[in-house]
Symmetry: C2
DNA sequence: TTTATATATCGCAATATTACGATATTAAAA
DNA sequence: TTTTAATATCGTAATATTGCGATATATAAA
């Protein structure tokens, strides 16, 4: 099959699943970290910074844009990417809500 | 290709990527949430709870076990799964360390 | 011992992802 | 206007993931 049966899960679980899936790749983590470190926006520095082809970087950026966590604005002939702080904080909350749950275990294990 | 070039990323980014990738599927989020809700361990209730085939649930459980976030212990003819609290807290920290970074944006955007 | 139940694993089909070269597209620079 | 540089998109190959039926395995129950 290869296709996720999204219709059987709650909206919240699908949402969280999608976000974490996009974040679940070292290139995209590295891209986000680089954008955060540079504070300002960047563009094709990423191609040199990570060792991936330009097409590949562009594709990863597209996925990050799809979930809204970054946004790009045209800056001459290059594009300036940066974190969307509002979306970032929203996802931060969503992920914290899941991970900061009280987890207790009874009997076995 | 279809294969991630792990050798070009830092250990930390690979680690975080792997964890988030496993968590990045609604079935696995739902499984974790169910295990947390039931506090104690569960087994094949999941097959009825979610609407997936037994083989599919078993496979998702295996991936969760692979990253150590759950552990199972044999309980008669069934298996009792529960959160590994220590690993959970470790991942909680790792994810928080990434997400609770101060994110600021300069100029453009 | 035979049967039933719970899980794991295998093998497979359908689809998704990763990566990249080649090729647009767009805007600055010459 | 031509050239150059930065991105995006297309097409494609290699590989991974999702899901499931069939089957193995192991233990309790009859």
């Amino acid at each position: 099959m290869g296709i996720t049966k999204t219709e059987i899960y709650s909206t919240e679980h699908n949402r969280l699943g999608t976000i974490l899936k996009v974040l679940g790749h070292p290139a995209r983590i590295a891209i986000l970290q680089y954008i955060i470190n540079q504070k300002a926006c960047i563009c094709n520095d990423l191609v040199e910074e990570l060792g991936l082809a330009q097409a590949t970087i562009s594709q990863h950026l597209k996925e990050l844009k799809n979930i809204g966590i970054i946004k790009g604005s045209i800056e001459g002939k290059s594009v300036c990417y940066c974190i969307d702080e509002q979306v970032w904080r929203q996802y931060q909350q969503d992920i914290n809500a899941f991970f900061n749950q009280e987890v207790t275990v009874t009997d076995c294990c």
